[in-house]
Amino acid sequence: MTTNTLLEFKGVGKSFGGLRAIDNVSFTVNEGEIVGLIGPNGAGKTTLFSMASGFLEPTDGQIIFQGTRIDGLNPPRICRAGLVRTFQIVKPFGEMTVIENAMVGAFLHHARPEDAREVAAGVLRQVGLGGREEQVAKTLTLSGRKRLEVAKALATHPKLLLLDEVMAGLTTVEVSEMLELIHSLRASGVSILVIEHNMKAVMNLSNKIVVIQYGKKIAEGAPAEVANDPQVISAYLGGEHAA
């Protein structure tokens, strides 16, 4: 199979003082793929996200995006390179309107407010927030704020989108809407790395699953393989929090 590697974690490690939060993790995300990153709470999934997006610097290893090392670069530079993250605890610009939130993302490539507004409006329709443009962001429902989190990131025209638990706390209907959205994003050419606790959702969504436990990668492969991996089963059922 000839695929282009978009993002590569190469022996990445991160220590906080004496705590080894991430230990020698390697995997890749290819162009056009949706990769699911799963693991028990506290396994280090968000830490991996933070390193890829420049919020944390790895202690060892390299992170390569489109052939260039990005570990240690600051978040704005990584965002400009085409890799953007969302936050597990959503961070809307609370006092700003929904469209202004999306405009902040759109400004990355469109300096004129009129152009940014147009791009933002398009992205809002795409995520299902059309009609809510003038609402103040903090008044949105949780589902709305999760969509807005995606919209802000999308408005930067990313090549790779890191989604951190965008389905947590949503109802079944909202989850299926979000799944549809993520599928449509891939169809539009955005590759996606997703952290998700909703097993059914992530299995349905991903081309490949990477499983992390205690900061180490314990499995990687197609959803069906990973689901039957004894180590993964014990990680999820053997004493840790069930998903």
Binding site: P92, E95, M96, T97, E100, V104, R112, P113, E134
Partner: protein
């Protein structure tokens, strides 16, 4: 995020503002004019502060540092080197920018109260330095601007009308600068920084650099206000222009009016300065009556509507609530 008035009412508002703005010129009352000049000066200072403290949401309590730098720089260059304060004010602005970079680089990574304290400390350090510079800057006694009477090219004149017109132009320019920032990408970025800094970072906003730019613009504007003050009262001293009091008052005027809004800083000054004057005359010169008034008004406004007078007025005039909330009320 842009306009403050509805477009259909705009000519009406414009006319009203213009009439109110030029009315004091025709009163001929010098006492009234001097209050009006100070009101405009504070409106200007609050607008200057607004760029950093309002739009970018960085609660600086040390703007007296920049004000003092402006006042001292133009005065020093005038009395020692004969340079007109019209030129000296640009020297002051440049020095204030340098100071803002130094203060900013060491404090802008701090958040919330820590940043506020750091800025306050920077102003106090500067005041102490000036107080001890007896030979160079006149120490605690300060400096007097050489009296030339009617010398408009040296930024002084015997009539208050002269200063009133200049202050009015300064306020107009400051409103224009704020307006330009608010409607630009830069303004949206600063609002994003104020609302949620990490999210702004993730979306490609170089937050620290943009905050630093805001601090530089704000400092330069404030310094020019300092020059104006020096020329208006023809005297500068560390207490008057570097005092911690001043830095707090500038912030309070803007906060009461409405942080991050276009007209809030002006409204804040229109409410506070005349009331302060009234408090002073009715309290029979009781020390601190003005500060008590500031405290009281701040409490009342923040209790009733934390987003300030602008929002209160908008509500009274039946403007829809969701309109232009963007620029109001920092979340930090």
């Amino acid at each position: 995020m842009m306009a403050v008035q509805d477009s259909k009412n705009r000519p009406l508002w414009g006319a009203l503002i213009l009439v109110v703005a030029i009315a004091p010129l025709f009163s001929g009352n010098q006492y009234l004019l001097s209050i009006a000049v100070m009101t405009l000066l504070y409106a200007y200072l609050a607008l200057s502060w607004n760029v950093l403290g309002g739009i970018a949401g960085q609660l600086s309590l040390g703007h007296s540092a920049y004000f003092g730098i402006g006042a001292y720089a133009s005065t020093w260059f005038f009395i020692h080197m004969g340079i007109s304060p019209w030129i000296g004010m640009w020297i002051g602005a440049a020095l204030a920018v340098v100071a803002a970079v130094i203060v900013g680089m060491s404090s802008l990574h701090l958040r919330g109260a820590y940043y506020a304290l750091a800025t306050l400390a920077s102003a106090m350090v500067l005041k102490t330095l000036v107080e001890n510079a007896d030979d160079l800057l006149g120490g605690p006694r300060g400096m007097e601007v050489t009296l030339l009477r009617n010398a408009p090219w040296q930024f002084q004149y015997t009539s208050k009308e002269f200063y009133y017109v200049i202050a009015l132009v300064f306020v107009a320019l400051a409103v224009f600068i704020n307006w330009r920032i608010l409607r630009s990408r830069y303004g949206y970025y600063l609002a994003a920084v104020r609302n949620e800094q990490d999210a702004a970072l993730a979306l490609g906003v170089p937050t620290t650099r943009y905050k630093l730019y805001a601090a530089m613009i704000s400092a330069a504007m404030t310094a020019i206000g300092g020059t104006f003050y020096a020329q208006f009262v023809l005297f500068v001293s560390p207490d008057k222009v570097f005092g911690a009091n001043l830095g707090v008052v500038i912030a309070v005027v803007c906060i009461i009016g409405g942080r991050g809004t276009l007209w809030g800083p002006v409204l804040g000054a229109l409410l506070l300065l005349p009331s302060e004057e009234l408090a002073r005359s009715f309290s029979g010169g009781m020390l601190g009556a003005d500060m008590m008034l500031y405290g009281l008004l701040l409490m009342l406004v923040i209790w009733y509507e934390p987003r300030g007078l602008v929002t209160i007025l908008q509500r009274w005039f039946g403007r829809s609530d969701r309109q232009r909330l963007t620029k109001q009320g920092a979340t930090q």
